[in-house]
């Protein structure tokens, strides 16, 4: 922020912000805040506890937490090596790999779900062999929920971490090598700490996206309470009959996301990094 350099340069002396920044910026805040306010204003606060402690709500919440955490684990386990390859290996940093990784971000999630069906459905590219030879059918299983969430959420992790890896000074890795550290030791003790903020941010974003996943899950995994009906699907199902229930569940989603996003930016994570 620019401040005038007066001897009594207190905050009040800060230069006036130009209106063409202040007005649209404030409008953006209002635009983002109003729907949240609407949700909170309509929330059935009096019946909140009853609505949320209903077995159906708890079931959806439990399923959502379990699948989103698993999907995040999958995204990190596969995405971290991919991010490394993209940052450092010529075979993986071409436009095609980049586009492929970005695709789930720009694809409507429903289309992502259809694509997953065409790959892993029982008539899909891979799915037909799984079904015909092993009798395994992925759609309509909890595993399918995890796959759909991982598919949609992984790019958030990969892109965040790849950017960080790309911008790290590789000479630190060289320095580690001259000190006798093998590649894994170097990655674990030198590279990882340097990209830690991005690792955390990427993981949190990935998890938040997985938690909110709707379209791909519905299309690929279906919706059945306790098996595939995650919180967002339960919200959608409830919307037609019981708005109060739907809003109560939405408030839970909102609360969990806000807590995590704030924590990810704030002291909590910085503390973890110490």
């Amino acid at each position: 922020m620019t401040t005038t350099t007066t001897s009594h340069g207190r905050r009040g002396r800060a230069r006036a912000l130009p209106w063409y920044v202040l007005v649209p910026g404030s409008l953006a805040v209002v635009f983002l805040a109003l729907p949240v306010a609407g949700l909170l204003g309509q929330a059935p606060w009096g019946r909140m506890w009853t609505l949320l402690s209903a077995p159906a709500s708890l079931e959806a919440l439990r399923l959502s937490l379990a699948t989103s955490l698993l999907a995040t684990a999958v995204a990190v386990a596969l995405g971290l090596p991919l991010a490394w390859l993209m940052a450092h290996h010529h075979l993986f940093n071409g436009a095609w790999v980049r586009a492929l990784v970005t695709l789930p971000l720009v694809l409507p999630p429903v289309v992502g779900g259809v694509a997953l069906l065409l790959a892993f459905g029982r008539r899909g590219l891979v799915g037909q062999f799984l079904y015909d030879l092993l009798g395994v059918q992925l759609p309509f299983t909890t595993a399918a929920v995890v796959m759909a969430e991982a598919f949609v959420a992984m790019p958030f992790f990969v892109i965040t971490v790849e950017g960080a890896l790309r911008s790290t000074d590789r000479r630190y890795e060289q320095a580690a090598a001259t000190l006798g550290a093998g590649r894994w030791t170097t990655f674990r003790r030198v590279t990882m700490p340097m990209i830690a903020p991005s690792l955390v941010a990427g993981t949190v974003l990935c998890w938040a996206r997985a938690l909110g996943e709707f379209g791909a899950t519905l299309t690929f995994a279906g919706s059945f309470p306790g098996v595939t009906q995650t919180l967002p699907l339960a919200v959608y199902a409830a919307l037609d009959v019981d708005r109060a229930q739907a809003i109560a569940l939405s408030v839970v989603l909102l609360a969990v996301s806000v807590v995590v996003l704030v924590a990810a930016r704030g002291q909590f994570v910085r503390g973890l990094l110490r």
């Binding site: 090598a177 550290a181 830690a196």
Partner: protein, 364 residues
């Protein structure tokens, strides 16, 4: 020395590496217990040489032998990766791991090689004490001054007790004030190190002060090598001539006064120096006057001009005193002073502009 005797200890390398249009093509030998400076301008291939010796880049063709072990040989398809060469490297900007404390940085090499954490920590602490920075152990690299970071980087490289030590512009990242002090310290540590030390630099002062042997690298090739004094005395190329303009005087110090071997008196800042010393003066730091100057410079000598040589932006004036000096003055100043061979002038310099080092074991 015969080839086999050479190959036994230290670094013995014969490297040809092509990077685009640039070709690095040299033979280099660094003997154990001695400091070899590779001196060259930017783009001469110094960093490539260092990276190749460290194993961060393979040789295009040729081979590298360190303490008798073949670590890189293109023809024999031998390549020992950097983590298995016993070569310590001190990088120009030190590259201390930002997330680790100073102690962890120094212990890193040991733990990476499987030494138990407690043992490694104790060893790291010992090295820090040896370099006089034991009290910095808990700090993060971001909390260190340039000189402190340099010492930590040295400790980190030395903690592994490497067969050879590579220093990449070890003083370039430091400000001028700390550079003189750190350079003197570096001399002491290097004197204790029993392996071969290869020092890469573009600063002739580093080479003159720190090195026993100087190798001049220009455009990927060695253009001259020999003792520091020898190279300075008989420059083989323009680059060396320009570079080695620094005045190197030997003498004996006592209470801030050095009596040079040719009989001149030189005031220096460091009053603790005692006994044989080397005094280094940059030609740029010396002024010439028609009349005896009055003012702050404490070193004033009557001199006679021996010869002149004009460079692109300056005039190099050789004068005989004592002391015998090379002085750089601007072309305009040369015109004003009517400098010509045989002119009698006064030379002066501030004690602050003079570097003096004790000269314990240097031969000659």
């Amino acid at each position: 020395m015969t080839a086999t005797a050479r190959a036994r200890m230290g670094i013995d390398a014969s490297i040809t590496t092509r990077i685009g249009d640039f070709v690095l093509d040299l033979d280099i030998v660094a003997a154990p217990g001695r400091v070899t400076a590779v001196l060259g301008p930017n783009g001469s291939g110094k960093t490539t040489l260092l990276n190749t010796l460290a194993g961060l880049e393979p040789v295009g063709s040729g081979r590298i032998i360190v303490n008798g072990a073949l670590v890189d040989d293109a023809a024999a398809a031998v390549f020992v990766p950097p983590e298995r060469r016993r070569i310590g490297v001190v990088f120009q900007d030190f590259l201390l791991f930002p997330s680790m404390s100073v102690a962890d940085n120094v212990a890193f090499g040991l733990t990476s090689r499987g030494v138990r954490a407690t043992t490694a920590r104790r060893s790291a602490q010992a090295w820090l004490s040896r370099l006089g920075i034991a009290d910095l152990a808990a700090r993060r690299p971001a909390e260190l001054s340039g000189g402190q970071a340099q010492r930590v980087a040295m400790a980190r490289a030395l903690a592994l007790e490497p067969d050879a030590l590579l220093l990449d512009e070890p003083l370039a990242a430091l400000d001028v004030g700390t550079r003189i002090e750190v350079r003197r310290e570096l001399r002491e540590y290097l004197a204790d190190f029993t392996g071969a030390t290869l020092l890469v630099t573009h600063d002739p002062l580093d080479a003159l002060v720190l090195a026993d042997e100087v190798v001049i690298l220009e455009e990927g090739r060695v253009t001259q090598q020999g003792s520091a004094a020898g190279v300075a005395a008989r420059p083989a190329t323009d680059y060396v001539a320009a570079l080695m303009g620094a005045n190197l005087l030997r003498g004996t110090a006592s209470e801030g006064l050095v009596t040079t071997d040719d009989g001149a008196c030189v005031h220096v800042v460091d009053r603790t120096l005692l006994g044989p010393v080397v005094v280094v003066m940059r030609p740029e730091a010396i002024s010439l006057h028609v009349d005896r100057p009055e003012g702050s410079p404490r070193n004033v000598w009557p001199v006679r001009v021996v010869d002149l040589e004009s460079r692109i932006d300056r005039m190099m004036v050789r004068v005989e005193g004592p002391p015998d000096l090379s002085v750089a003055i601007t072309l305009a100043a040369a015109a004003d002073l009517h400098v010509a061979p045989g002119s009698a002038l006064w030379a002066s310099t501030k004690a602050l502009d003079i570097d003096a080092y004790s000269r314990p074991l240097m031969g000659g």
